[in-house]
């Protein structure tokens, strides 16, 4: 109900300015300025202090030839894709269960949401112990060779451990979004399907999934964005090892800086930034189209 009366251009209450301007200032100082500073530095050979000089695009050229950097991108993207799928499949199944007629519903929901309140690095340390000590002990007892040494020192399997722990700690948020979505599906829709004699699987793929597609999209976008920043769980589990096989992009940026590579890592960050923007835009585009269809 919009009124068609002409918009009266009132003078803005100065109070609004007193709110908006300082907030924008804080934001600019905390986010925009560092972004610009970092971008500027990426064209130098600075270590963050002391003398430096412009070296043009050399940092960017070096990045594209650096196997360690490329490996960190490959690892991070592979990890993000696998994890986002694992998290979403598991969280969706759990959400189906937790919206069904079950006993102990409140307790079960509370348990599955619990990991949300536990800090990633702490739980990573707990799992680190399980992976390095308990599982190998179990593996030795059962005579399974690949299990009797820690998966964390196995270059081919260490990433799986990281996926498991990240999934463990990321399920709650995703789960809650799915529960929120599933309760919006009207019961009558299912009743109608039951009358038509639809199998449970058919009901899932033809009714439930299309109705909660928007929620799937949200979870995918949030998940990818989070997992691309993977850092603390890796710190707690492998610290990037064995070798450099589980170094994420964030970790490369921070450890590179400790090694005196400020400018170079700023160039790395700039590329990472562009990629994240591109991915998010593509995802949003995709989602909007999906919703219109």
């Amino acid at each position: 109900m919009t009124t068609t009366a002409p918009v009266i251009r009132r003078r803005m209450d100065p109070v609004y300015l007193w709110i908006i301007i300082p907030t924008l200032a804080l934001f600019t100082l905390a986010i925009t300025l560092p972004t610009v500073m970092g971008l500027f530095m990426s064209f130098t050979n600075s270590i963050g202090f002391g003398t430096w000089e412009f070296i043009g695009l050399n940092n960017y050229v070096a990045i594209f030839q650096d196997p360690a950097i490329l490996q960190s991108y490959a690892f991070t993207f592979g990890f993000a894709i696998v994890t986002v799928l694992a998290v979403n499949v598991l969280a969706f199944l759990l959400a189906l269960g937790l919206t069904a007629r079950i006993r102990a519903l409140t307790a079960l929901r509370a348990i599955f949401v619990l990991p949300m309140v536990i800090s990633g690095i702490v739980i990573a340390y707990v799992f680190n112990f399980l992976f390095s000590n308990s599982l190998p002990a179990l593996g030795t007892a059962l005579g399974i060779p690949w299990l009797s040494t820690s998966v964390l020192v196995n270059p081919d399997l260490a990433w799986v451990a990281i996926v498991i722990v990240t999934t463990w700690s990321a399920i709650p948020g995703t789960l809650l979004i799915y529960i929120a979505g599933l309760v919006t599906v009207p019961r009558e829709v299912y009743e109608a399907a039951d009358i038509d004699g639809a199998t449970p699987l058919r009901r899932l793929t033809h009714i439930t999934l299309p109705l909660v597609a928007g929620y799937v999209a949200i979870n995918m976008i949030l998940g990818v964005k989070n997992f691309l920043n993977a850092y603390e769980i890796i710190v707690g589990l492998t610290d990037g090892g064995p070798g450099t096989s589980t170094r994420s992009i964030a970790m490369t940026i921070f450890t590179g800086f400790s090694g005196g590579d400020y400018a170079f890592q700023m160039a790395n960050a700039a590329i990472f930034f562009l990629i994240v923007v591109a991915i998010t835009l593509v995802q949003l585009r995709f989602t909007q189209r999906g919703e219109k269809a």
Binding site: G48, V61, P67, T149, V153, P242, F264
Partner: protein, 417 residues
């Protein structure tokens, strides 16, 4: 320009006060505050005591010990400590190269340093016309061995490569792990097997001078390269892997200290910093050290050293005078001797007392003769994840391609330097 101290102090105090800590950190007198950074974990209690003594003996300055600040971040923040006393390595050398450390060449203490030792610092990098760091203590590293286990199996300290392998086989045949490995912590591999194998076979300073000269040209076809010069030493290193205990791959440094002190292996490739840890488990352990022989000529043996502690004062310190005074205090001969005796280090000055501890005594002659080399792992910039590469090689990665990767890293680093 650095911000006025008062604002930083105010905000820190505000934060501290708000969490109910009181303002105990603020000085009530007007003595200059000298922030002294020393992060070597073993020596923290020692320096804490030393600082307390210094604060009592004079009244011009008050030294505050800082043990955990991330230095790179502290310099980045524009608030470096006033005096640093820590391991001198590639990271510190980069600070120095960019001119953020002050010149100490006019201090009388600088003249007492042994030239070969000062040269170790110059191997990393130099800043024209300045002496930026004063070596305080040198750590010499070689193979630590359990005398009781050696005696029990009638094994003599080996002086040649074949002798060493024979010793390992004797232990293995007797069901004793010859070497205790902590492969999970990759730094232990870099400072141990990797450095010992290289230092015993190649001329370390000469090699690094050559590839620094080559810069971006380092690669498969360059006259000197990691893949060319390091290949044989790395093959030797890999020969040692089977002589470690079975679960070496999943053991970490603390596990190793516990196990070795309990006599679970005959030898341990660690530096003197580990003796204190071993003594925690068994103070009566009888240990000795010998350089890992890599050739058939006993005269080729050398010990690995590093500048375990070196002193420096940042240009950005606002307490230059007080900082220098404290450095001079630290560098007094009896003070340095006391430290080295306690932490099993070797003196850096011409007037230093020799080591008397039986655990490191055998390395003294090598040190005095200048038969030592700086650990090659220390001379590779941190931007190259060398320890990770070493770990991969130990765990079975292809040597040629891994070393070729290090070459490429080196060339790329030179390209954007």
């Amino acid at each position: 320009m650095p911000p006025p101290l008062s604002r930083r102090a105010f905000l820190t105090a505000a934060a501290a006060g708000a969490v109910g800590l009181g303002l105990s950190g603020c000085a009530s007198d007007d003595r200059a505050i000298v922030r002294f950074h020393s992060s070597k974990p073993e020596s923290i209690p020692y320096f804490r005591e030393l600082v307390a003594r210094y604060n009592q003996e004079q009244s011009a300055a008050r030294v505050v010990l800082d043990t955990a600040t991330n230095l790179q971040a502290a310099f980045l923040r524009g608030s470096p400590p006033d005096v640093g006393c820590l391991n001198y390595n590639m990271e510190m050398a980069r600070f120095m190269e960019r001119g953020v450390l002050s010149d100490l060449s006019d201090m009388p203490e600088a003249g007492r340093i042994r030239p070969e030792v000062q040269q170790l610092a110059d191997q990393y990098a130099t800043f024209p016309g300045r002496t930026n760091v004063l070596p305080f203590s040198v750590a010499a590293e070689s193979v630590i061995y359990n005398r009781a286990i050696f005696d029990e199996h009638g094994v003599e300290v080996p002086t040649t490569w074949t002798g060493f392998l024979a010793a390992c086989e004797t232990f293995q045949a007797a069901g004793v792990a010859p070497l205790y490995g902590t492969f999970k912590d990759n730094w232990t591999l870099a400072q141990g097997m990797f450095d010992y194998a290289l230092g015993g076979l190649i001329d370390v300073p000469e090699f690094f001078a050559a590839i620094t000269e080559l810069g971006t040209a380092v690669g498969p076809d360059s006259p000197r390269s990691f893949q060319r010069d390091f290949l044989e030493p790395m093959e030797r290193m890999r020969e040692l892997v089977p002589f470690h205990q079975a679960d070496a791959a999943s053991r970490a440094y603390p596990d190793g200290n516990l196990a070795f002190a309990r006599g679970e292996a005959a030898m341990y490739l660690q530096g003197p910093w580990v003796f204190g840890e071993l003594a925690k488990t068994d103070p009566d352990l009888s240990l000795g050290t010998f350089p890992l022989p890599m050739t058939e000529d006993p005269d080729d043996r050398k010990v690995r050293v590093n500048l375990d502690l070196a002193l420096w004062i940042p240009e950005g310190s606002r307490q230059q005078e007080a900082a220098r005074d404290f450095v001079a205090y630290l560098m007094r001969a009896e003070q340095m001797d006391d430290f080295n005796a306690q932490f099993l280090g070797f003196g850096t000055t011409t007037d230093a007392a020799p080591a008397t501890d039986e655990r490191i005594q055998d390395m003294q002659e090598f040190y005095d003769d200048g038969r030592f080399y700086l650990g090659p792992s220390q001379l590779v910039p941190l931007a190259i994840p060398l320890a990770n590469h070493v770990q991969s090689m130990v765990l079975g990665a292809d040597l040629r391609s891994t070393l070729a990767g290090v070459d490429a890293d080196w060339a790329r680093l030179a390209f954007r330097a």
